[in-house]
């Protein structure tokens, strides 16, 4: 009877993984060896058929290299910004939030229930030439005719930062929460002033959270296309846009699928790097 229970108990998540992860992944992989038929439909093909690897060969065309470099650069910038903004927020709430800290974290997370696309649209309204920010700047006399903020790489990075900030705040907050507050006191007790204690005690003690947050921000940022689509300009085309265009504009699903597979392999390498670093941290050095 117990076996029956566990079978049923694990059936749901198993099915979930199968339907929402393994199946689409397999379909994407299969599609990447396919071709576009005469009606513009994506057709599957055997990976051993002649030309089945064309899509992969195309993907390594140097013409796409700038997009990849741009994506990684933007994602790294986004990660750095998320850390610079998210760490102080998490730190402030964890250390000084008192009984309200979970409420504060809840309030921070709340906007993220709104669809990312919608939130990015809000940034369009904020950053456009006649948007709220520029109007405020003009009213304050900072500038006479507004500053072009939208359609720039900065706007894209800003959109990404806003979009994924919470993925930095939560793990850093968790790491700060896990930390024994006495450790900070020990730092001060041992003649570290506030800055020294932060740099030599708090920061290194929360590096697991920083690492996790960085991965959680970096991975979706690299593959993002929404921010570049809505906030970007002529020179902010990212790998995510490339893939999206293959599916919805160029109507070349197989090539889009091949790009997706390559992207996933690329991201998996980063992920493995992270997991190994995390494991090294956790394993006591002998």
């Amino acid at each position: 009877m117990a076996g029956g229970f566990w079978t049923r108990f694990l059936a749901a998540p198993g099915l979930w993984l199968l339907c929402l992860f393994a199946l689409p992944l397999t379909l994407t992989l299969a599609m990447s060896f396919g071709y576009v038929d005469e009606f513009g439909r994506a057709a599957y093909d055997s990976p051993f058929a002649p030309g089945a690897l064309d899509n992969y060969a195309d993907a390594f065309d140097p013409i796409y290299l700038p997009s990849l470099v741009r994506s990684v650069t933007y994602a790294l910038g986004t990660t750095a910004l998320c850390l610079a903004i998210g760490y102080p927020i998490a730190y402030y709430i964890a250390r000084f939030g008192g009984r309200r800290k979970y409420l504060l974290i809840g309030l921070l997370v709340l906007p993220f229930f709104v669809n990312y696309l919608v939130r990015t649209y809000a940034w369009v309204a904020l950053l456009s030439d006649e948007g709220l920010v520029n109007n405020a700047l003009i009213d304050l006399g900072v500038t006479s005719q507004g500053i072009q903020m939208i359609n720039t790489p900065w706007a894209v990075i800003g959109g990404l930062t806003y979009g994924y900030l919470v993925f930095m705040i939560l793990p850093v907050f968790a790491a700060l929460e896990r930390m024994d507050p006495a450790v900070i006191e020990a730092g001060k007790d041992l003649y570290g002033n506030k800055l020294q204690t932060f740099l030599h005690v708090t920061l290194p003690q929360t590096r697991q959270g920083i690492l996790a947050g960085s991965v959680l921000v970096f991975l979706p940022s690299v593959g993002d296309f929404v921010s570049a689509t809505l906030l970007g300009g002529p020179n902010t085309f990212m790998v995510g846009n490339l893939i999206q265009d293959q599916f919805f504009a160029a109507n070349n699903w197989p090539f889009g699928a091949a790009l997706t597979v390559i992207m996933m392999i690329f991201l998996t390498i980063w992920m493995i790097g992270y997991l190994r670093a995390a494991a090294r941290e956790a394993r006591p050095a002998l």
Binding site: Y35, V36, D37, E38, F39, G40, R41, P50, G51, D54, A57, D58, D61, I63, Y64, P66, S67, V124, S128, D129, E130, G131, Q148, I150, N151, G232, G233, P234, N235, F237, N241, L242, D245, Q246, F247, F248, A249, A250, N251, N252
Partner: protein, 370 residues
Amino acid sequence: MEIFDQRLNRRQTLQVGAGAVLAAYGLSACGSNDTRGEAKFVKPEIDGDLLIFNWAEYMDPLLKKSFSEKYGVEVNEVNFDNLEGMVIKLRQGGGPYDLIFPSGEYVSRLKLEGLLATFDRDSIPNSKGVNPYYDSPWYDEDSNHSMPYTYYTTGICWRNDLVTDMTGSWNDLTNPAGDGRMFILDDFQEAIGEANLLNGFELNTEDPDQIEQSKETLLEQKEFARGFSTNTVQNLATGAALIQQAWNGDVVNTRNQVSNPEDFSYETCKEGIPVGSDTMAIPNNARSPGTALLFINWILDPENAAQNVAWHGYPQPVEGGEQEFQKLVKEEPSIAVSIEELRDKELEFVFETPEGRQLWAETFVEVKAA
């Protein structure tokens, strides 16, 4: 383009198995009739509630309401945001939808795939008001799979209060007065198309060398661009764009939204302008094809057409619709487009081969990715 050649070779190997289909495509492209299927004709009669699949904000909702009240059926609408997505859902049997709004080019593709229902245009009385140009459009020669919804031109909209020295050429996209405030439509056909025209090529050229040259043209234009975007109304109304490659209907809408409509001019370029048509068609798997056909008739009704044009800003090639559009654009005649222009220029986007389409699409991605 070595890669492209490889692709062609691969296609050739495939052609062995897909010969019949290719032949059908080839015949169609040469101007012959579609010979596929012996589908029976849809009759204009109420056979159930209606589900419409359309672009967002592309039809006066009151027309759905009045139709619903008159015929006692429910009219529901869902939206797509690009034609590719529409086709994908259609292929998967989504909806099932009763009425779709493909462009001319997509009508030809969907027809070839056998995804469209056939009807006799004479069975709906308001088809008599449709401009004779659409008696036999290139994409639906017998005019028995689609009825025209709107038509449009692609040109350049510009701020006449801030930009001078416009020359009436596609070269105006690189007018220094619009440097950094210019948008190119994020649409591979429109982008490659204007570059082809500017270079003096056939609009629909599929010659790889010419396309390569047009790519260089686009890369030069990109230096002046603030982005690739189809959010024309937003770009113009917020002042982000001083110069924007635009569909004429969007210019009408922009002028309706701003307090200074007189500052927005539209020019149709001397090298030629692409013109296009959106249509109404009934998917093969529609649940209520009869109701859908009745609804097409409803949209083609002169009064309804006028009401609709006033709402969405695009000309409809049907009695009532054309007159209303002329009223809308009388202060800025450059926005107007006549059926005669369509007939004379015949600058509609048509692909000779699927490879050509692929080449265009990939070239545009390369321009954006560079």
